[in-house]
Each structure stands twice: as structure tokens, then as C-alpha cells.
Subunit: 246 residues, 2 copies
Amino acid sequence: MTKLTVEPRDCAACPIRHNAVCARCEADELEILEGIKTYRNYEAGEPIVFSGDDMEFVASVVTGVASLSQGLEDGRTQMVGLLLPADFLGRPGRRTAAYDVVAVSPLTLCCFRRGPFEELLNSTPHIGQRLLEMTLDELDAAREWMLILGRKTAREKIASLLSILARREASLRQATLTREASFTLPLTREAMADYLGLTLETVSRQISALKRDGVIRLQGTRGIEVPDFERLLAETGDDADGGPLI
Amino acid sequence: MTKLTVEPRDCAACPIRHNAVCARCEADELEILEGIKTYRNYEAGEPIVFSGDDMEFVASVVTGVASLSQGLEDGRTQMVGLLLPADFLGRPGRRTAAYDVVAVSPLTLCCFRRGPFEELLNSTPHIGQRLLEMTLDELDAAREWMLILGRKTAREKIASLLSILARREASLRQATLTREASFTLPLTREAMADYLGLTLETVSRQISALKRDGVIRLQGTRGIEVPDFERLLAETGDDADGGPLI
DNA sequence: CGTCTCGTTGACGACCTTCAAAGGGCGTGG
DNA sequence: CCACGCCCTTTGAAGGTCGTCAACGAGACG
């Protein structure tokens, strides 16, 4: 549970340089950012902030996966955001966290002190423009997710999650989707259940069913092989053409 | 099904002047906006755009209610956005609609031609800043909605929707929430079901149950009276303090 | 080798959907 | 003015999907 603060690295060599909130920054703007940034590392399962906490920073995910969750009085919880590399954490203009944030896998954040970051947001248009674009993308993703939560069956939910993860995996590697795909699940069964509004038992059962029906193959519990991606897509229930965002 | 184009009115007299995307604009910026805006009216139930359509404008809702919906192959649909007065319709930088948009009640839009609006977005920071703020608010609302869709029971879903509508009703009138509240539902049972990921029969049954239990009273089918707002909140299942956005 | 976490599988029951029918409210037309 | 039809809503009965409770299996680690 140790929070390690690493020395800032060079932005030019950053793996998320061209996708994160700083994507459109010029050299001089990057220089300012370098001055206010710090890296933080978290272990899998480690909480980052709790809902209601004061957040003294905003951040970009450099590597790893984090989740945003909301809960009800009696302990039921729903994941409402899944942050992958390049995604942005925190809301400019609001100091208190609205969600519980947890590192799902080993995680590295590039943290910016709130005050200077918000000044930069006002003084240079590039960061605000990029943040708007990213926020609109997240809103689209949230709306696709709402369709999954509200109207899909358990089997369709699992198929949808797998296809989303396969797509993101491919785009991180800058590869195009081929007929067959394989990737490692970054989530436990419980986290998948939390994402999909199911119980972990139902998740496990439906994964077994998809495997039994030949839609996927398993390598251990986390390795997923998709022999025919079209077949998986057919299981999502989605409209053929429109399809989720590419 | 007639689409009436009304002469532009004076921005200074606009009912949503201080809440819409133009909220932070100076007099000179408003003047530019006045030059590219048009009003359009729609009847209740009238479609505005279909997913995949080319959208030549973006718009602010002036009066009335519109919904954004997504559908599955077999006809199941899920509402993914509810646009009330001052809310923004359309995404800068994307010409094709990602959702079906329908007027839920009689509706007036203040439409801006896409090209000039996007130029303005780049040339003046006030519009972009406000749009970012509104988009972040929508993202928060979408996440609260995801918790409702994924984890709440039918009864809790209905109570949540009623409390959200009561809150918005109060904020539109600039009133503070009192112990008792009353408002008119802007949605049919079917639209409520679409919002909550339920069937209209379940919606009807749960409204009857809340009425039987004295949580609400009905005036006709659309009029809702809440004798004790705390009692309604207790039915939402939400964490007592955190509570949804105010 | 024991323990702990994560995952799988089974039995049962609750909640919600599906299918069906009937009850208002309102406008149109006789 | 009343009757009729249409749409929205309510209510009932039956069935299916998924949640709950429980037991067991597999791999990691000390």
C-alpha cells in the first residue's frame, strides 16, 4: 500500500503524449506542464480517493487501469467509469471527488497540481479544447454503457464488454481489428460484474456459456481468445451497422 | 408534423440566457450568435433527427423536453439523454447524429449553423469554457443514471426519477426544495420506462405502489404531489448524505 | 501443506417481463 | 349532446432471467 512518487520523466518520451489531455500542447506549454507534474504509482486494488475527499490534483492515466464507482446505502456498487491509459481523472473547478476511485491494476498517474493546471486551462486554449473533446468522448461511452445496463441481457452484456475491451486493446497497440483477436482481461469477475450491473456468479456463468458455445476460448481465467470477431459482435445485440464508436 | 421557423428573438430577453451555452458571452459575442441562429418548433412526439443523419446545426433547448435514444437490433430502446431548457444538442466536430432525438413535449430549439458556431468556438474562449462545464455536468448526470440503471430496483428507479424531476422543476423556477413538492410529469409512462430500463407496465405498477403507500399522490396521470420529500428520498436507495448533484 | 483469494457450478426463489384484457380521458363526428 | 374510437394507463396471471445462498475447485504464497 505504498504510494511511490517517481521523478518526472520527459514528456517527449511519454507513451500517452499524443492521446492525453496534453495532446495538442506546444513545446512551451509542455514545459509549463513538466513543472507542475508528479508521477504516482498504485498497486492493484489500492484506493486512490474516496467520494467526498478533497482532491488536490487532477491527473492522466499513464499505464494501468482505474475505476470510478458509486454506491448505494446498503452496499450495492456500480462502476461508472473505467480509466485506461491517456484518460483524464478529476474535474477542473471541483475540489471534492464525486466517486470512489480505485486502481484496478498496477497504475501510474501523471498528476498536476490543481491550481496551476486550472490557470493553464484558462490561459491556453489547447488544453481546454482537448479536454472538451475527451469529455465528449467519455459522454458517448457513458451513453453506450447506459444502453448495455438498461436493455441488454446478461449474455449480451458480457459479449459487449469483451468487444469493447478487444477494441481498446487493438487501438492501444495501434493495430486494426482482425477476424480473430486475443487479449488479457484487465478486470476480475467481480469488477466485470460491477461494470455490467450483474453479480459475479452471473458473469462467470455467462462466460462459461460463451465458451461452451465456441464464441470465445479461455487461456487461464484472464486470457480471452476470439476466433471470430463478427460472431462475438452478433452476440452483443447491437444494431449491425451503427455499431458502437470505433 | 410541421416544422415552423420563427424569426430570431432578442437574446437579452431569452429565458435561458444565463444557463445555456451562451451564458458567459459578452454583448459583442451575442451579436454574432444572433446572426447565425434560427428558432425551430416541434410538436410532442415529433422526431428531430435520426441516428446517422447529417446534422447541419447544433442547438439549445429554449422550452420543452427532448430525448436522446439508442436502440438494439430487435427494437429494444434505451433513453440516454433527457434535454431540458438550456441543455445543448449536438456535438461540435461531428456532423452525423449519434442518437435518435425526439421532442417529448412541444419544443423550441435555438439552432446555430454548424460552421459559424465552430468558428466561434475556436475564436472566443467563453463558449468553449461554458460548453466544457455543461458537458462535465452531463457526464455526472449520466453516471448517476448508470447507477440507477445498473443497481436499483424498479421501485427505487421510479423514486429516483421523481426526485430528479422534482429537483429540476424547482431549479427551473429558481425555487428551493421544500418539504412538500408538486409538479407535472413531462414524460409518458412509456418514456419513463425507456429512461429507467423498465417496461411501461412495471412503471405503472410501481407508481401505483408508491401511491398506495402514501409516498406520492396523483392528480390525474401526470400530476405528482410529494407530501414529504425526505420520504421520497428514502425510497431512492441513495446514500443519505452524498446524494445526487444538487 | 495450509490458507487466502479468485473463479466455477448448482439449487432455489424473487423480481421483473410478457401476454392479455379492461378502464379512463379526450377529440372527432354523427 | 352523446357516441365512438384512439391513446394512454392500469391491473392481472404466468413464466423466465437473474440474484441469493452454498459448496467446491484452482492457483499463489508463505
